[in-house]
């Protein structure tokens, strides 16, 4: 009895020491995360409750007034609508195309290594450069698309790709899908390779068709990767900035202004309070999407 107590006491000490050491070792990471992520995020949250405009001193606490203003701000609502719609369409296409690519390069064939490398190239190009390239492809006078269209007599007149809100929308989606479908493909490929081949062999023995192999084995086992990939891409798409900045500048007529662009312009203006409010709402939007994915991906279970 006594011995045992002594032992627990000892082990308690030991545990404490261990815990202290653990915290000590974790400290740099905690300080880094706290200083670089937590502090700015809470700072932004606090600022959103203030009227903080550089040319209208002093800084004043105004509670939820910025948020109230946001609800009636047509430009903001338009940018939210555009951003969400863009995210839904772009991420859906990227997932489908990325999955298709992944299935192809998962098969064994000659030059598979080369194909895998080629697929990744668009992802490796900095967005600002690929955006400029797409801008040239869409060019009205010298662009490749209009060249092909007129050469193949598909349309008598060249098309003004970025000229209407619909065509500008799909032009942006196309450029984004081209760049990020490869990213999805690589993530999915990693997921596919972790699925044991024996499962497929067993399925074949049982006479399962290719379709049911895909829906019963591939998709369910790919779900964790799918969830992560969707979260990554959705967060990225909701913050889209550079592609639009180059391709349309938010035009025509403000139809393709994203939330990030709207926030950026407010910061440029020197309205840090209202700009922070836009950032906070973007954050909430991203959080919502992530929660939905986690719920549907049943992420907790599969881990």
């Amino acid at each position: 009895m006594r011995e045992q107590r002594e032992f627990t006491k000892k082990s308690g000490n030991w545990m404490e020491r261990e815990a202290r050491l653990a915290y000590f070792l974790l400290a740099p990471a905690i300080i880094l995360i706290g200083g670089l992520i937590l502090a700015p995020v809470t700072g932004t949250l606090f600022r959103s409750f203030y009227r903080d405009v550089t040319f209208l001193p002093p800084v004043k606490f105004i509670g939820l007034l910025n948020y109230k203003h946001l609800l009636t701000d047509v430009n903001f609502l338009q940018s939210i609508r555009f951003t969400v719609l863009f995210t839904l369409v772009a991420v859906f296409l990227e997932t489908v195309i990325g999955l298709f690519f992944a299935l192809v390069i998962n098969e064994e064939f000659k030059l598979r290594g080369l194909m895998r490398a080629i697929v990744l190239i668009p992802w490796a190009i900095p967005t600002i450069i690929s955006a400029k390239t797409w801008f040239l492809l869409y060019n009205y006078n010298y662009g490749l698309f209009n060249f092909l269209i007129t050469k193949l007599h598909l349309s008598a007149k060249p098309i003004n790709w970025l000229g209407t809100s619909y065509s500008a929308f799909f032009s942006i989606v196309m450029a984004d899908v081209w760049k990020t479908a490869p990213f999805m493909a690589i993530l999915f490929l990693a997921g596919l390779q972790s699925i044991s081949k024996e499962l497929y062999e067993a399925a074949e023995v049982d006479g399962a068709s290719l379709t049911s192999q895909f829906t019963r084995i591939t998709l369910p086992l790919l779900r964790p990767v799918l969830t992560i990939a969707l979260i990554f891409r959705t967060i990225d798409s909701l913050r889209i900035f550079d592609l639009i900045y180059v391709l349309t500048g938010g035009g025509p007529g403000g139809a393709t202004t994203s939330v990030s662009m709207y926030g950026f312009k407010l910061y440029i203006l020197g309205d840090f309070g209202y700009g922070s409010t836009v950032s906070v709402v973007t954050f909430i939007l991203v959080l919502l999407f992530t929660l939905i994915y986690l719920r549907f991906g049943r992420f907790g279970e599969s881990l």
């Binding site: 550089t54 006078n141 938010g250 035009g251 025509p252 007529g253 403000g254 440029i268 203006l269 020197g270």
Partner: protein, 440 residues
């Protein structure tokens, strides 16, 4: 054996690097106590050639003022990003950069935020002569609520470029004075030229949703007697004159078809310039920088280009939007006297002449325009001076960025044909009113 050699070489290189860093450090520490040097930070960006030239200016300044050291804080090329790199330190009351260049459109916001040191005291202390600058620019763009906040380093104004050879080929002997003339000439020449060149357009200008569109818009409306704000600062965006002018802008693309459909999607300064320079346009609206490029040796239109003030509507007067960059001082700067020395040096006749000679900039000082060397190098500058004297600044208000955003959006929608000009300007008027209510 080989890997050992490699290791030794690497070690040697690292040792040398460490030593050299140490030595440089020593050199600096031993030098400073001799003379008490003041260091100012000067923030500037732009094309590589421009940055190179700023280095030359700084070197010259440092030789003439051995007790002041100027650190160049390099900014990006993009105007909006340049603005952001100033807004961040200034809004957190940093003492550096001490001196910086500003686009003329920012001065209102910067001055209202109380970031710019008023220069009036320095001017009166030194008996500094302000009459060398363009008076209208100084009064309308550089003064905020009576205080002198900046000085023009170089100025820009919108101009009409035209093809001399094509005008005379079709029997015209002068560039158009009114917009109606421009349409008539452009239609005739375009019809004739299209036979041999299907890509030919009558008139190219800046219409993409961006700041440049506001400049073009201002020129159209002011040349029809309109404006963005009236003299008391109230918005008059949806005035009859403005609606007329914007309808005309739209008609250039959709009715007269003398401006290409990509005007409202792609046309910024450079696409406009390259379209004209490759021989695909009769008229072009652009800033003075295009002149040098149009007449470069590899330009297909070299020697065939003329410049004129932009046309006006019947009963109106020609208008050019004032652009360009101005120099200002950080109000939190700890070395304001040294900063003022540097500003004076940048604005001196010799430096300003250097800008004109080396970079093709249009100096903020008027006296440079009559310098024989400058005239020999850039004969067109003499004509430009009259345009600069009357150049119209964009509204100098603290919320200009926001105002500009609204105008860009609605004028772009109007010329894209997605919104009727009257509706677009009505909406712009309402939004600008709301902005003023929010930020005044």
């Amino acid at each position: 054996m080989q890997s050992k050699m490699k290791k030794m070489v690497v070690m040697f290189i690292i040792t040398m690097l460490v030593l050299s860093v140490g030595l440089v450090g020593c050199k600096q520490t031993t030098q400073t106590p001799v003379i008490e040097k003041k260091t100012i930070v000067f923030a500037v960006g732009g094309a590589p050639s421009e940055v190179d030239y700023w280095h030359t200016v700084i070197n010259k300044f440092e030789t003439e003022n051995p007790n002041i050291k100027v650190d160049l804080l390099l900014q990006p090329m993009d105007t909006e990003t340049r603005m952001q790199t100033l807004v961040t330190p200034l809004s957190s009351k940093e003492s550096t950069p001490d001196v910086f260049l500003m686009d003329v459109a920012w001065i209102g916001q910067f001055a209202a935020s109380n970031w710019l040191a008023p220069l009036d005291d320095f001017v009166s202390k030194d008996n500094y002569d302000l009459s060398v600058f363009f008076k209208k620019t100084l009064d309308l763009a550089d003064r905020y609520k009576g205080k002198l906040c900046a000085l023009p380093v170089y100025i820009d104004a919108g101009l009409l470029y035209y093809r001399k050879d094509l005008l005379s080929k079709y029997g015209y002997n002068a560039p158009p004075a009114t917009w109606d003339d421009l349409v008539k000439m452009a239609q005739k020449v375009q019809e004739g030229e299209r036979k041999s060149n299907p890509n030919f357009w009558g008139y190219v200008w800046q219409g993409k949703q961006y700041e440049g569109l506001v400049c073009d818009f201002l020129e159209f409306i002011v040349s029809n007697g309109g404006n963005i704000l009236d003299q008391d600062g109230n918005p008059v965006i949806n005035s009859q004159n403005n609606v007329q002018a914007v309808t005309f802008m739209r008609d250039l693309i959709h009715k007269y078809k003398i401006s290409p459909p990509n005007t409202y999607t792609e046309m910024t300064e450079e696409p406009v310039r390259t379209t004209f320079q490759s021989g695909n346009a009769l008229f072009e609206r652009n800033w003075p920088y295009a002149w040098g490029l149009h007449n470069a040796d590899d330009s297909p239109v070299k020697g065939k280009v003329g410049i004129a003030p932009l046309p006006h509507f019947a009963g109106g007067e020609s208008a050019a939007t004032l652009g360009g960059w101005h120099i200002g001082m950080n109000i939190y700067s700890k070395n304001q006297d040294a900063a003022w020395q540097f500003i004076k040096f940048v604005e001196s006749f010799d430096t300003e002449k250097g800008f004109a000679m080396n970079l093709g900039w249009n100096p903020g000082r008027q006296d440079v325009y009559s310098d024989p060397d400058v005239i020999a190098k850039a004969p067109y500058l003499k004509d430009l001076r009259t345009v600069f004297i009357g150049a119209v600044p964009r509204p100098v208000v603290p919320y200009y960025t926001k105002l500009s955003e609204v105008i860009q959006k609605y004028v772009n929608a109007a010329i894209a044909g997605t919104m009727d000009p009257k509706t677009a300007l009505d909406k712009a008027q309402d939004e600008v009113k709301a902005i003023i209510a929010q930020y005044k």
